[in-house]
Symmetry: C2
């Protein structure tokens, strides 16, 4: 697998292409040119061709790309053609929203366990799951083949819980807590921080 030498900035664009192609395929769109796809995604056509060229030749000259074929190839590259199981930590309002976010299921991401340190919440239902105590994390993560963690907890606990998740075998973390995590190399971290997003917009207003 060509996991190295492909710039991360390219990898972060592939999901956008995949999403657009999936919508197109659903609407019966058979063929697409890089220029057309570019217009939908909001990048340049040359960029799309360059990005794809890291992984192979998926188009036909003078014609374009077959939508469903390119979609399948991107799914394969991103490993979006298989199921992923997720441990959610934090059963607050955000955890509730995430459990009910149907878009995860649609893309093969399954929240397979929820943990919280609040004894009041442990044992109560959250969506289709029961909230579990933190002590059960190791066992459940291994048993349910969980490789991804989502942190939906206050910033002050995030670093410690992240380390705990890694300890239990999690290799990628989606962090909703407004704090920078420092974790061993090899552990992937993505950060969702609406305040930072808003602040970098207010600069321009």
């Amino acid at each position: 697998m060509p996991k190295t030498n492909v710039p991360d900035v390219v990898i972060r664009r592939l999901p956008l292409y995949l999403r657009c192609l999936t919508y197109m395929a659903e609407r019966g769109h058979k063929v697409v040119s890089s220029a057309e796809l570019a217009k939908w995604v909001g990048v340049s056509s040359a960029q799309i061709r360059k990005d794809l060229s890291f992984f192979g030749e998926f188009g036909k000259q003078g014609w374009g790309y077959e939508v469903s074929y390119l979609r399948d190839q991107l799914q394969r590259i991103l490993q979006a053609d298989r199921d992923w199981f997720i441990a959610l930590v934090g059963a607050g309002a955000l955890g509730h929203a995430l459990i009910n976010y149907r878009t995860f299921e649609r893309w093969h991401f399954h929240i397979a366990a929820v943990f919280d340190n609040d004894p009041q919440k442990v044992g109560t239902p959250l969506g289709h799951l029961l909230v579990q105590p933190m002590e059960e994390m190791r066992h459940t993560i291994q048993e349910r083949n969980i490789q991804i963690g989502i942190l939906a907890i206050p910033a002050e606990h995030a670093q410690q819980v992240a380390e705990q998740l890694v300890e239990c075998g999690v290799r990628a973390i989606l962090n909703y807590a407004p704090i920078n995590l420092s974790l061993p190399p090899g552990i992937r971290v993505a950060h969702i921080d609406p305040v930072s997003s808003l602040q970098s917009m207010t600069f321009y207003l």
Copy 2:
């Protein structure tokens, strides 16, 4: 104001610096070097010095930066020292989580109105607000000095509602819907898409 010629990638890092400095100031940390700040934020010390140099000279040689002074300067640059009023569109589970997200208030972002097109939801309380019908958008946005919109609605309505917000005078949109918005130049858009974030991590697993 030097809104041009500063690369956007720099602007997107400033909120990280600001957050870290604010935490440090709260803990009584008086002075910080670029190397120390870099370690917390997870970037290089040279990068921090270069980024700051776009806006002025905030440090003392051989000594470092005064935490509270640098914090204040970043607040000013990002306009994080004033209040911002937000219109939330979508009163579902995500809208509920956002209304209850205390971190917005802490950084001077105030959700000042909630809209939904579901007649069942209109008139019901969401946090400290009542859900309003879409028809009241124009009036409320102008009345309450709202400049920012948050989209917490399904993808199929996002483009149309975004245009409506812009029509009403909103100049920045935080989009939680998994679709690319195309809006007039001058309108800022930030996109929060957990599925894309997850997919760009699963590539590496």
